[in-house]
Symmetry: D2
Subunit: 311 residues, 4 copies
């Protein structure tokens, strides 16, 4: 098995990948962009790609949303949450915060630690890096002249970097969400706490289409945990929606909602049903009786019995 | 074949019955109430009952709505519209409007001709009758002392009554709607312009249930041509809805809407799909592409194909 | 003060009227039809009219709905519920059920006592009367030849009729709803348990108008306790809706819903806010925070403050 | 006047800024991150900040959405669309595509030109840069060893870089959307083609809240041109929505929709009404009569007149 991920090695995306059971024994190949990673799956060069889909430290979310919305179909088979915690690492010889004059890291990581930096590294300069790992590993290169970097614990520990401080993120408890993507194949079996991801082009000739699309979920009591509109890139004002819904295609209310989406927007793309990780926003909200599999089955049986009397 | 109807003979209900093809050769039995008529069908004493369902001159509409909502199931197999036009008939010896001092008819019929009466029969007295036909035929009974009656053309013509004026209704163009009811059996084949009638108990434990019920139709582009709430009679605040929807159970959007109703209110009662008479309020509004049988079939096929990949 | 009501004297409508405080000392005039009663109010011949609006024994409900939907505006100032219980009264000389051969009453009353009659008066004949009171009082007229009548307790007691049995209704606990109507004037102050009645023409040029109308209530958490579609009588397929909503125009959510109705259907007619009698279907359902007067006031203040910055 | 923008100089964000009338004569200061730029406005160090909000080449969109959703209030006063077109620039001495072995640029820019690169620069290596401008200007630094960079025309022209090819983007016609942000103050006057941006926390204690929020727009015929859910960062499953709606707070339907949002989610943040640039998805869809300012005014007047009769 070959896994690729948005690299370089040592980023939060690799940390996400390392949570996948069995991945330690598999081949792991970094990719320079989300598109590259997904194309490796499409071409068969990799079996799986780990890419960020929500709230990522190193960006790539829009690229992921767009890349899985178009081109050859892909399927999400797993989601992974990674707690976002940063460490400050320094080059050899630096042992205290007072010595740090210049800090390098990815701009998004800097944004999430800036208050700590301003309070603890007064007067420091910031040098953008192309990733948190690139910033950290640059400390090992004598040609670079900065003092410290902000990165994931993974890259610091693996490379035995000099950690000055841990947990320097401004907001405790943040997480980033990643998805493991494969070619379309078997859908993971339902676990009772699953998520279904779809991409739905907004029909341009259908006023009120967005409400009609969302109503397909609402009318069956299916909650949404993420919704984003994205331009299709084909024309100004041409949009698609990327949606995570709570439930599994094996559940009648989800299958019925998907059928409703397909009627309104036949170009809808099913990106997978897979186990949900962590507490969902609506966890504990039990399914109303009229949205259970049993209610759907009884309703279908009733209509079938009525139609048996057709003249 | 035996047909019964809300009598007595000569009312608008009998006029509705006479529109049914082949009924002239069949046995026709008046019933003293809507309940009596429907019970004759339930017991097998009659094959069909003609009863008013909307805007009736002689009442009975509530009784019809309630009677088909409860008890042993019945099925509507045809609807009939009857133009509401009244004649003024007089007892022997009366030849001009000036001679008319007292007029008898059903209270509803009087309400629909009152402006004409006030303008043309100044100072007249009104004597309520239990039906338009009873008022008219009473003129033949020497024990009665009123001068004229207001009734349907049918009873006047059949009994060779003395017609003083035709078309005395205050509002031209009114119609009453009747339905022909049988035991549940074969559903008439779709004609492309059909109506489906259902009775839906309002679930008490489900806030917003009415909107949810109506949304089952709206979400599939099914128009409603009649909706009425009725108390169930079981408890104060316990309601059911009587609804006419445009379409036939053989059409996918109607079948899907009915399944949705059944999920929300499992006690829903299907009262039939049958040809629609006259122009519907939404006639000419074509079915949106996403609500066609084809769109439903394609959506179902798409979901089935996705589910084939379940692990 | 003069009150009129759907007569004759002794009907359930008069029983409803007698519940109005102070009415015993006022002038009470029966009317032969709902239209006549309402016209007396319009012309000033009466100050108030009591008419049935829901589930009536003697009919008139459609007439009431239609009459208050058109013509000069009227206003509902009170609702009254009357328990529907029937007595069997007999002509002089009849002392046991076995002696009863013929029974007279209004058709609707007969429909509601038929099972009792069949069980207790085997082989009896039914003679329709124009009202329950007319049937009962006819027993005092020696020209009539029937043995018994079914009527409201009121007329039996007031006329010292011979009561053979009380409580002969087939369904215990039924009630009929009446409304007291005046010319438009002062709206009764809110009590916290009120009802608002409106009549809304369905705009013909606006597909989905019914859902849009109902959504005006639903979007503000306003429950409906009655809804009926009625043909306007102007053209086939032209409808209006008669709706009872829970709440008072003095409450922000109701006023906002009414404004929404007016936008969609400018011909909407406000028929009054008045105290609700009896348990409402949704009694005890507290108003959601976002639909309280406070939430409306805060929202209006917020928008006003934003608009103060308009350039 | 001081303007800041997501730098460095020469990026697409600066190209957006240069479209603002009068900006050439003003002070223009690059910021290293979206947060830094917005904080300069909050602190008064800058009057305006130009930041990407949708579909950005250099990232920052999530940072923008999050930064304007929290902290001290800001206001969008203008939107700018920038056509996304890339040029390939080379270091001194490189005159043909065949000589290009290594290319540097921001990862998002590389993703949008990758097909062109693969077709025209076979076997090239990609070196990520922290921005398109940084990659381009790095060509002037003799310490760097890459041959070419992909950047915006602005930075190439301003620095007289050696342009090998223009228009190398894989998708023609793409645009990025930027917004100009100030402290809250005067709202730009309506132009008839405006946009309103709001940030709405999703109330956690309110099932179906997302549909209720969206219905506030739909029920008044207000179209949405962008919608994104974002985690609040406070707790897993805690979300806010960033929404662009078509219309101006000065229009009654928008003001009414905003009031509705405030009732459901009192923490809603108004981020401005400002002229819309370019064709909107719903351009040309005229406002339905019932959503016009006139309809709102008439409805309000009607309700006010009714309430004048309150007892």
């Amino acid at each position: 098995m070959t896994y690729t991920y948005l690299g370089p090695a040592g980023t939060f995306t690799e940390a996400a990948l390392m949570q996948v059971p069995g991945v330690e024994a598999a081949e792991r190949v970094p990719s320079t962009s989300v598109n590259t990673a997904l194309d490796k799956v499409r071409s068969g060069a990799a079996d799986f790609a780990m890419v960020p889909i929500e709230n990522s430290v190193e960006g790539g979310v829009s690229a992921t949303l767009d890349a899985i919305a178009t081109g050859e179909s892909l399927q999400i088979v797993r989601e992974v949450l990674v707690p976002i915690t940063f460490v400050l690492v320094a080059r050899e010889g630096i042992t205290s915060l007072e010595q740090v004059r210049t800090v390098s890291t990815h701009g998004h990581a800097y944004a999430q630690t800036r208050h700590w930096c301003e309070a603890n590294l007064p007067g420091h300069d910031f040098l953008p890096a192309s990733s948190t790992a690139a910033g950290a590993l640059g400390l090992l290169d004598p040609e670079n002249h900065y003092d410290a970097a902000i990165c994931a614990p993974l890259v610091a520990e693996r490379n035995h970097l000099n950690i000055l401080r841990r947990g320097i993120e401004d907001t405790a408890g943040a997480v980033t969400r990643f998805v493991l993507v494969s070619k379309p194949g078997r859908i993971p079996a339902p676990t009772g706490n699953d998520k279904t991801t779809v991409v739905v082009p907004l029909p341009e000739d259908h006023p009120g289409a967005l409400m009609d699309l969302l109503d397909q979920f609402a009318a069956r009591g299916v909650n949404l945990s993420r919704i984003e509109s994205r331009p299709t890139g084909e024309a100004l004002g041409s949009y698609f929606f990327s949606v995570d819904a709570e439930g599994h295609i094996n559940e009648a209310r989800m299958a019925d909602a998907l059928a409703g989406l397909h009627r309104i927007s036949p170009g809808v793309r099913f990106l997978g049903s897979y186990p949900s990780v962590g507490r969902s926003p609506n966890a504990g909200a039990s399914v109303a009786r009229h949205n259970t599999d049993e209610a759907f089955a009884q309703a279908a049986a009733w209509v079938a019995q009525l139609k048996a009397h057709l003249g």
